[in-house]
């Protein structure tokens, strides 16, 4: 039961943290609850389909189907997160310091909801398909018994959800004027972290060269599988021994989104000038 709980917790944690960040970034946007719930539901549905097709997906692209599929899913999420940050910068979200401004901000936020729906659905799909596969395997071949596995899974899921919730509640305590900086900053790093994962998958599938493997090794200081390492891995993209290509993807994504945000925010006329 405990092993089931730990694995389900690990797999749910990332999706849950992403959900927490997205929920925080959309505070005050009408109907966001519906979109977020729909995103989770669509993700779970997709996860079950993907899990049931694991073998077929794996056999695609000369056995590299899994790497390609996950890279495409993650790459799409990176693109969506980038778009969200640039879009919100272009709509004066960073200038939102009073209620009137916030109204404009909310309109921009409403338009971004479908994008965030896709982000959540894909994040849940990716982590959920592995969870579903694991539980299916446990259920059919476990010595522990089905009930024990399911209990463990429920416990792990609850713990994972609690972590996302804690992150969300923490965000709500941030003063309004810092809110955009903090949420868009987190989305920025989240996107870079995922881009680094895309690179890792493409190296694993021998589609991209590693450039250096690893470029450095800090596993003496902080291992990937420690609690802090896992958290930093998801939120900031920490990797104790990244390949050179991962670092290129990470830095490139950071730079491109920042440039886009800057370009978009220049096009916004500050209130004082109107």
């Amino acid at each position: 039961m405990i092993s089931a709980a730990i694995i389900v917790f690990r797999e749910t944690l990332e999706a849950s943290l992403i959900l927490g960040i997205v929920a925080a970034a959309t505070v005050g946007v009408p109907k966001r609850g519906r979109w977020l719930v729909a995103g989770v539901a669509a993700g779970i549905g997709g996860a079950l389909i993907v899990a049931s097709m694991t073998e077929q997906i794996a056999e695609l692209a000369y056995g590299m189907g899994q790497e390609l599929f996950n890279a495409i899913v993650l790459g799409t999420v990176v693109g969506m997160l980038a778009w969200h940050n640039i879009w919100m910068s272009g709509h004066g979200a960073h200038l939102a310091r009073n209620a009137k401004q916030l109204g404009r901000d909310v309109q921009a936020g409403t338009k971004a909801l479908p994008i965030l729906f896709v982000v959540i659905a894909l994040a849940v799909l990716r982590e959920g398909s592995e969870t579903a596969l694991f539980l299916y395997g446990m259920a059919m071949g476990s010595q522990e018994g089905l009930l024990s596995v399911l209990n463990g899974a429920a416990l792990g899921l609850a713990a994972g959800a609690a972590a996302g919730m804690a992150l969300y509640l923490g965000f709500l305590r941030i003063p309004t004027r810092w809110f955009f900086v903090v949420t868009s900053g987190l989305i920025l790093f989240l996107a870079a972290a995922m881009a680094s994962q895309v690179a890792r998958l493409l190296i694993q599938g021998d589609i991209l060269p590693s450039l250096a493997s690893p470029l450095w090794d800090t596993s003496v200081l902080l291992t990937n599988d420690s609690a802090l390492g896992t958290l930093l891995h998801t939120l900031l993209g920490y990797d104790a021994n990244p390949a050179g290509m991962q670092v290129v993807f990470y830095g490139g994504t950071l730079a491109l989104i920042l440039l886009g945000m800057r370009w978009a925010s220049r096009r916004v006329i500050p209130i004082a000038d109107r």
Binding site: S3, I7, T54, E55, A58, G63, M64, Q66, E67, E130, L133, F134, Y136, G137, M138, M140, G141, R200, I203, Q204, G205, D206, S213, P214, S219, T223, N224, D225, D239, A240, N241, P242, A243
Partner: protein, 108 residues
């Protein structure tokens, strides 16, 4: 040598270079255990690790040291490219059965 002859030679050489550079190394999973537990590979070159999961249960090959993670469906094989590695020991696990599914890649 003419340009076209040079091209032809390159084309002929290229596949042999690619294949020579990535030797296959096999490891199987049975009853949630890896066999062999110690996988010996040459250091300093890219390796194609072929994991044959003979169990009905899916497994997730995971190694933080190798920076690799891949789900392997039950009764199926998966290919994972690793390295080039510095000489050393790189532990890996089957994440779905971590208590028994443990192994180590030894690069030498």
């Amino acid at each position: 040598m003419s340009f076209w002859k040079g091209c032809a030679l390159l084309i002929m050489l290229f596949p042999s270079v690619v294949f020579a550079a990535t030797p296959d190394v096999h490891v199987s999973i049975k009853n949630h255990r890896f066999n062999p537990v110690e996988v010996h590979v040459p250091a300093g070159q890219k390796i194609r690790l072929i994991v044959d999961n003979q169990d009905a249960m899916p497994e997730e090959f995971e190694s933080h040291e190798l920076n690799r993670e891949k789900v392997i469906a039950g009764k199926s094989k998966a290919t994972i490219y690793i390295g080039p590695l510095e000489p050393g020991r790189y532990p890996f696990v089957g994440e779905f059965n971590e208590a028994t599914a443990k192994g180590v890649v030894v690069a030498e």
